[in-house]
């Protein structure tokens, strides 16, 4: 298990800006910390070797402290601000539980843990709907309704306490009835209690306050809707979750305006009890989307304290950096990008570091949770120390490919937590044989190659692109995308298109890019949301929930949204396999005069039959042209990969019907393309994630690196 873990408050800083690092050290051991620049994050001894460089005057000895992650979402409503002390009350809410058989599923609570005062309304396993009452001086009572509760069914539940008589009641009413299933009823009890003794506690929905300040316990899994609280006959609050979808605010529509706050990012913009299948966009009928889906394993922000900060020198080159923290037993790297100062550094090339896609895969558990994972890559999954730690610490949260404990898809991902697979030296089960690289570590092969060829390159993150738009790309003669830039917000997409159409040159160095639409959290940087719509991956969006809560935009594949990647970079996702990679064979277009500059110095017919990622330049995920999806008609198809294993299967969105032999007869291969654009720019695309792993072969002298350099040099000097 790991004993050092950390994250930073930012993922991109400009020279002169400060970044704060938050670290947990098991047993509070002191550790060394240093800022390093990452050039090659691949430890494969068959490659050029791992390479990082210390940044001068940026190392410290830090007194460690242990910091925990407290997962689980809830809503906290400061009812005490507008009401007298809790006495007689009536609380009702609509509830759609997903794990009702699990103990301690708190629906709502107004509870002071220290004194045992207040109430907790919960599902308690076989005991069913339960109400616990305490007067804060040792008096307590608990009612159990004992009726079954069906998962993923709506109920109205109610808790009532009368301080005059001491009588308490709980009520559960199923909104859908089944003959022979008795899941509606009520029970009452004379508790003997003459008060509940709560003065300062907040109303907490989907959890209860635990001992320590700001800590919660007994998290609920499922949806809540329309909670209403009365003290006696006085309405204290009526919370309308259909208001403020996309925000962290829970709005009170009652007279006291007791607005609450969501903790750890539960899902909004989800169907409530009234969703009737006539609307599919929460913006058109918010009343049908008046539910919030809470999960005991939601993790939006680890909320750790800062352990050290660093201000990047104003003359620091743009690049990929990390804070390295280490003890004798363990180490961790907290990666971040130093972007260029505003207006660019003078470099003519920018690499877009696909941080949104890193977030999409952050802390993924597919090989651990999904029986099919081994079939998908046709070898036995390999787990390293980071994977084992993730497996033991689900509180670190999952990726956009994982499901919550209750089986619902994880729709948001945040970088405000340690991300154990966004690390140099990390090997991924998705990365094929050899180096087994996926995303960040694979992308460093691009940085390594550029450095080996003395080509200056600025690094820009997806977050920068989203925040600043095309302006951030305008200083560059050429913009490079990374190995797997899969997740794009609309603003990122717009920016890349505007750059291309304004005369920019794009080197698309990976595959399966520009694939899923995402939305960034409207106010908090570093959190993304995906609605997978009708094409699933790991999970599929429930009916009626394909519109992002964060943006109000329909989600899904950009292809389904009318912007297929083929229309942007000429090629788009066609299929994948995760065992071994293959090679390209040149096509007639590669011998045309227009393509001569690309193949200058390359006499080979076969391109990339070598490499650290699966042993070839064409592998993992593959893109090809498709005129019907917008590949420009002037596109030169330079080379096509071949001889892929039977594990390379077509992507699901292309499967309109099943038939025998489908895998053998589907056209799953990569195409390398080039096309000129009307704005004066051009696009080169490799069509393969594995390409970067072949650049360093034979001391960086090979046909993959030659083609890459040929295109790069032409693009860098195109507008001179």
């Amino acid at each position: 298990m790991k004993s050092l873990l950390g994250y930073a408050d930012k993922i991109s800083i400009a020279p002169g800006e400060t970044i704060a690092f938050k670290v947990s050290s098991e047993d509070a051991a002191a550790y060394d910390a240093a800022i390093v620049r990452l050039f090659n994050a691949d430890t494969n001894p068959a490659g050029p070797g791992y390479r990082e460089q210390s940044v001068p005057d940026a190392n410290w000895r830090i007194a460690g402290r242990h910091q925990k992650v407290h997962a689980g979402s809830c809503a906290v409503i400061p009812v005490h601000r507008g009401a007298s002390a809790l006495a007689s009350f009536r609380f009702s809410v609509l509830v759609w539980p997903t794990l009702p058989d699990q103990m301690d599923q708190t629906i709502a609570s107004l509870w002071q843990p220290a004194s045992g005062a207040g109430f907790i309304l919960a599902f308690a396993g076989a005991q069913g709907l339960s109400l616990r009452l305490g007067d804060g001086t040792g008096g307590s009572a608990t009612l159990h309704l004992g009726l079954p509760v069906l998962a993923r069914h709506w109920y109205r539940v109610e808790a009532i306490f009368d301080v005059e008589t001491g009588r308490a009641q709980v009520r559960q009413q199923a909104l859908v009835r089944y003959p022979g299933i008795c899941d509606s009823g009520e029970t009452g009890q004379d508790t003997g209690l003459r008060g509940l003794g709560v003065e300062q506690a907040a109303l907490v929905l989907a959890a209860r306050l635990a001992g320590a300040p700001g800590r919660f316990a007994g998290h609920f899994n499922g949806r809540l809707e329309a909670p209403v609280l009365h003290y006696g006959e006085a309405l204290i609050g009526a919370w309308d979750f259909s208001a403020g979808i996309g925000t962290d605010v829970v709005q009170d529509s009652g007279p006291n305006a007791l607005h609450g706050t969501l903790v750890q990012g539960p899902a909004r913009g989800v169907a409530g009890h009234a969703w009737d299948g006539t609307v599919f966009d929460w913006q058109r009928a918010t009343a049908q989307y008046a539910a919030i889906h809470f999960h005991q394993d939601d993790c939006e922000d680890a909320d750790w304290k800062t352990d050290f900060t660093w201000t990047a020198p104003t003359d620091l080159p743009s690049g990929l950096y990390a804070a390295r923290v280490h003890t004798a037993q363990d180490e961790d790297y907290i990666p971040f990008v130093v972007r260029p100062r505003a207006g660019g550094s003078g470099a003519r090339l920018a690499l877009i570091i696909p941080t949104a896609s890193y977030l999409a895969y952050a802390n993924e558990h597919l090989a651990l949770d999904a029986a099919l994972a081994e079939r998908v890559h046709d070898h036995v999954p390999v787990f390293g120390p980071n994977d084992l730690h993730l497996a033991a610490h689900r509180e670190l949260g999952g990726s956009l490919y994982d499901v919550h404990d209750d089986g619902s898809g994880i729709m948001t991902s945040s970088r405000h937590r340690p991300i154990l697979n966004m690390r140099p030296k990390y090997q991924s089960w998705l990365g094929g044989t050899g180096s087994s690289l996926w995303q960040l570590a694979a992308d460093t092969h691009l940085l390594d190659f550029l450095d080996a060829n003395d080509i200056a390159c600025d690094c820009i993150t997806d977050e920068d692109l989203h925040a600043e738009g095309a302006a951030i790309l305008s200083p560059y003669a050429c913009v490079m995308t990374a190995t797997h830039a899969e997740y794009w917000s609309t603003r990122m997409h717009d920016a890349l298109l505007a750059y291309r159409d304004g005369g920019g040159h794009i080197m698309h160095m990976g595959a399966n890019a520009l694939y899923w639409r995402i939305a960034f959290h409207p106010t908090r940087p570093g959190i993304i949301e995906v609605r997978r719509a009708e094409v699933g991956n790991g999970w599929i969006t429930p009916p009626g929930e394909a519109v992002h809560a964060y943006s109000g935009e329909p989600g899904g594949l950009w292809r389904r949204l009318g912007r297929a990647p083929q229309s942007v970079v000429g090629v788009g996702f066609v299929g994948q396999g995760f065992d071994v990679s293959s090679y390209y064979r040149r096509l007639p277009d590669s011998y045309r005069q227009e393509a001569a500059f690309i193949f200058a110095g390359v006499s080979d017919e076969i391109i990339g039959d070598f490499g650290l990622i699966g042993g070839g330049a064409a592998g993992l995920e593959l893109d090809r042209t498709e005129a019907a999806l917008g590949t420009p008609p002037n596109t030169l198809v330079l080379a096509r990969s071949e001889n892929h294993t039977r594990n390379y299967l077509p992507t699901v969105e292309d499967l309109l019907i099943n038939y025998a032999g489908q895998a053998e007869t589907s056209a799953v291969y990569a195409e390398m393309v080039y096309f000129d654009c009307a704005g004066g720019g051009a696009v080169f695309a490799t069509g393969s994630i594995a390409w970067a792993g072949s650049l360093s072969h034979n001391g960086y002298k090979n046909n993959v690196s030659q083609i890459t350099l040929n295109v790069l040099r032409r693009f860098l000097h195109a507008n001179e």
């Binding site: 430890t43 949770d369 029986a371 079939r375 070898h379 036995v380 390999v382 787990f383 497996a391 039977r646």
Partner: protein, 115 residues
């Protein structure tokens, strides 16, 4: 589903020999059919590899199938290639699936693989 006992013919070793030559990569339809069965068990108890030293050492583990309980290493050798670890998992699964032990490694190698 067909009778479990007959899903793999334990007397047909040519796919096994092919696997011994190339555990990862191009596989014939016959080997693929075997692997589809051997690789398709439920998550709980499924074999996995635990990397002890990057690019150098691997051990066999089993996935718990319980969220929060990490894969645990089982007794057995430490392998210095992923391919050897793959062959060992294949052997364990074959024997569990068919009820028949595979010939020792040397025998599987010496008779060559189906290329």
């Amino acid at each position: 589903m067909r009778n479990r006992a007959t899903r793999i013919d334990p007397t047909r070793l040519d796919p096994v020999r092919e696997f011994w030559v190339r555990p990862i990569g191009h596989h014939s339809a016959a080997l693929e059919a075997v692997l589809n069965i051997l690789r398709s068990g439920p998550v709980a108890g499924k074999y996995c590899l635990i990397c002890l030293k990057p690019h150098a050492q691997w051990a066999i583990g089993r996935i718990s199938g319980v969220r929060g309980v990490p894969p645990a290493r089982i007794d057995g050798p430490v392998f210095t290639t992923i391919e050897d670890a793959e062959r060992h998992v294949f052997r364990l699964r074959w024997e569990a699936e068919t009820g028949y032990a595979l010939p020792h490694d040397e025998a599987l190698w010496s008779e060559g693989g189906a290329e």
